[in-house]
Symmetry: C2
Subunit: 580 residues, 2 copies
Amino acid sequence: MEKILRIDVGAEGGPKVSEEPVGAYAGLGGRALTSAVVSREVPPLCHPLGAENKLVIAPGLLSGTAGAMSGRLSIGAKSPLTGGIKEANSGGQPAQVLARLGYAAVILEGKPATDDLYKVFINKDGVKITVDNSLRMLPNYDLIEMMKREYGEKFCAISIGPAGEMKMTAASIACTDMELRPTRHAARGGIGAVMGAKQVKVIVLDDSGLKMRAPKDPEKFKEANKTFVDGLRKHPVTGQGLPTYGTNVLTNILNEAGGYPTRNFSAGRFEGADKISGETQAETENSRGGPGSATHGCHRGCVIRCSGTYYDKDGKFLSKQPEYETTWSHGGHCGISDLDAIAKMDFLDDNYGLDTIEMGVTIGVAMEAGIIPFGDAQGAIRLIDEVGKGTPLGRILGSGAGTTGKVFGVERVPVVKNQALPAYDPRAVQGIGVTYATTPMGADHTAGYCIATNILKVGGDVDPLKPEGQVELSRNLQIATAAVDATGMCLFIAFAVLDQPETFQALIDMLNAFYGLSLTADDVVALGKSILKMERDFNAAAGFTKEHDRLPRFFTNSPVAPHNITFMVKDEELDTVFNW
Amino acid sequence: MEKILRIDVGAEGGPKVSEEPVGAYAGLGGRALTSAVVSREVPPLCHPLGAENKLVIAPGLLSGTAGAMSGRLSIGAKSPLTGGIKEANSGGQPAQVLARLGYAAVILEGKPATDDLYKVFINKDGVKITVDNSLRMLPNYDLIEMMKREYGEKFCAISIGPAGEMKMTAASIACTDMELRPTRHAARGGIGAVMGAKQVKVIVLDDSGLKMRAPKDPEKFKEANKTFVDGLRKHPVTGQGLPTYGTNVLTNILNEAGGYPTRNFSAGRFEGADKISGETQAETENSRGGPGSATHGCHRGCVIRCSGTYYDKDGKFLSKQPEYETTWSHGGHCGISDLDAIAKMDFLDDNYGLDTIEMGVTIGVAMEAGIIPFGDAQGAIRLIDEVGKGTPLGRILGSGAGTTGKVFGVERVPVVKNQALPAYDPRAVQGIGVTYATTPMGADHTAGYCIATNILKVGGDVDPLKPEGQVELSRNLQIATAAVDATGMCLFIAFAVLDQPETFQALIDMLNAFYGLSLTADDVVALGKSILKMERDFNAAAGFTKEHDRLPRFFTNSPVAPHNITFMVKDEELDTVFNW
């Protein structure tokens, strides 16, 4: 990871490849690196689909090592959805492979002069870019099948589906998983549209002949990793809850807490929750069987294994196990309680290359607009197909919840900075409302997951129904998350790291042993703050103010059942989140 | 004009009418009043289509008097298009009639609990509101025919078409003209959607039995008005150019100047300009004949008479004479040079209730996206019909150029604050670029019409191709315009007022004689500044920063023929426009 690969798709005569040492970006990985490059090299007022924007693909500091959980990939750009800086984060194999190929980042820049579509192949021998217009408008699954015919089974891929090619602001970037399926997505903020604007359909990565990245102090690294893994295994969330039920374990929990947004945030409890809960999902998967059905990791080196594989009743692959947020967005948010239909929608989103949160929330908004009724699972599937085909209606929906709300004149549109809210109502979980409102990313639960402390009582206990303590909670989690996102570590390590000091120390020890450093917990906090500061500065220069750090007005005006309260954290308090 | 009428459409049991003295708003009219009410009463972060927004309809200070040119109506709200404060301005009869009915403003507020559609009737005996769902989705012309059957021929009306009912952000509010046609529109910023959100389809006004408003000093008023009218008649623009050729006299002038945006701002000269110029239009209208064909005022009391009536070759009414900006947006901007097709589109926009500038620019952006080819007049007509029908494609287009650009992933989208740029390229007329970028209204030529001094050499001579002097020019014109917009005067008086000190003095004398005041030129300037300050403060509280006071990046990055220069006024200079 000592070099940066740049592909200038706007160079005269076709894409130009250049390699350079990491230079000024030395010591940065993942989100720290993507945000640094975007901050330093992308003009904040540029058009997100223009030549001036850059797509930055960066594995984390520990990616490609033997360290557990280190396979997360950060992809950054100026977001076409929010207009601000964006880092979207994906599992799958590419982070590990890119890191082993020696790249701290791959940067796509410029704008092609023609409408040709490019395929990029990278292995130990170098980079090969070819025009391949036969890939045009291929869905991700079909695309990967084509790539298998060309490259065998030993690669991994980063790709866009038709949504990215159509430059839709709900378009994701897919990463292949261990089964070479395009099921893992850097989904949020429409970064798939930026890859689409660069006209790069797929980046195929092959690390054959290359080895695991070697730590400076192998013994210490191994030891720290063991302590780290032990910590994950013994924590009830990472050792038990997540492997057994997947992230969807949260459905019953949030529904019970009255924070499960139902029918476009018109209620906090869904009568059909039990039918789509993690428990029901696990039972269904277990009873149907099939490879990787019950529990499964998204990348090699995962020891939590929160994922699974979802087969239909005849044993046919339907999709990877839909995440909690997907099950919610296509489920309760739309009044749908049909797990098979939700898995089908998960597959369609992955195949067309769409953010499942943005799409589900968008369909709920379309339901509120009367396009189809709440609860209409087959109608919802049809709508996603419209997006994949790029019909005018599909174009609207593929532009996300904010645009769909505007186009149909809907007032209740759950977005912050134009990005759809995830699966937690900020009236019943006030802490997450602070994160939604203030993170530079637009509404994003992963940016500071206050559910942990508000609901799961991890890392302390802050009453979810009261405004007190939420700002501090969100601030600390946003700082910690930014740092974790720089390491390439899966965010789920946070459950164990927050509760168990020795697991946190083990993570720091891994970094120190790998790089020969002597970082302390304070350094990790400083790193998190510096990332947030870069991101906030970029957004300010792009025109964002404190008025953009607000939830949509209905959260402060309209109480919701069952608690019948509003979001109560005051604007002035929100403005102190980044005062540290 | 001593009272304000409020209609709370959200009151329990149906709309509630209340009247109050002007109170704190005393001495304000037109834009000064609409912006004051919006500033004071509308939360800047509210949803534009929600209960908290208000639609404020205000005649000017001199409306309803015997003063010439005083028939402009201001309509204000938080704009669903820009998200900022909005005043849209219309000719037609309603300003005069509302003023004679004694209303400084009619304010629609709240949000109905049902989906009923309301009809409001106001005459000397009071206000009557009825549910009339038979009017649903009626285009403006049909609606007015319905109203004629009910109210005879002695009324005037303020109404929305299907676009307003569908809450499209390109929706206008129509005002009837002297022939009782809905041809005059408060068009910009999507204020028709706000009226749609209030579910008020039409406000019928009848001033039968009421008299012209009486000045405090009738003799002085009469004398000042005479001097004022003489001034308008002797100035070449208001006395000759505008009456003879209409506003479309500008086509050849701007094309010659290389500032006529062609095919979505990809060139500054249009090869078909001559076919759609004011000269050709006047010749066509004269040769076809028909009532009001050649020259015609939009409201009683107009002495400039820049309008006309456009008949087809068989003498059938096609539309009012399309304005320059309409002829451009549907013409050169789309590569269309067919005057009859443009008149047809003008009619469709008026009928569906759409801003002709926003719609034409949107169609050009759709052409750039490849929806139909540039130059396809029949295709463009079809697209407007899609908007009127509210098909998914129509919904996109009815959301304006900004949204259309986003939905179709177009990079060259000529909008500021999400509002479409009018008919002057800021690279060839640098002054207007300053106004587009900085006015609180979003791109709006009328907010500070630098064309006057850059191109027509009225009020001085500032080289249109150089950045020098443009900020001062735009600043002074923005201040003057805000003040004129408070009087109810047509903005075209500015040509004479800028060049002839005695005409400016006559305007002040009219105000003083009417109200028994002793205003000076300095007071007028102070009024203009105070209006702009209110508007800027509202926008700042709604989240607008200096980064929003910028042109789209292609104007500073891409030179355009024939001058092959970019917009050269620096960002730091733009930031000084409101330093006075």
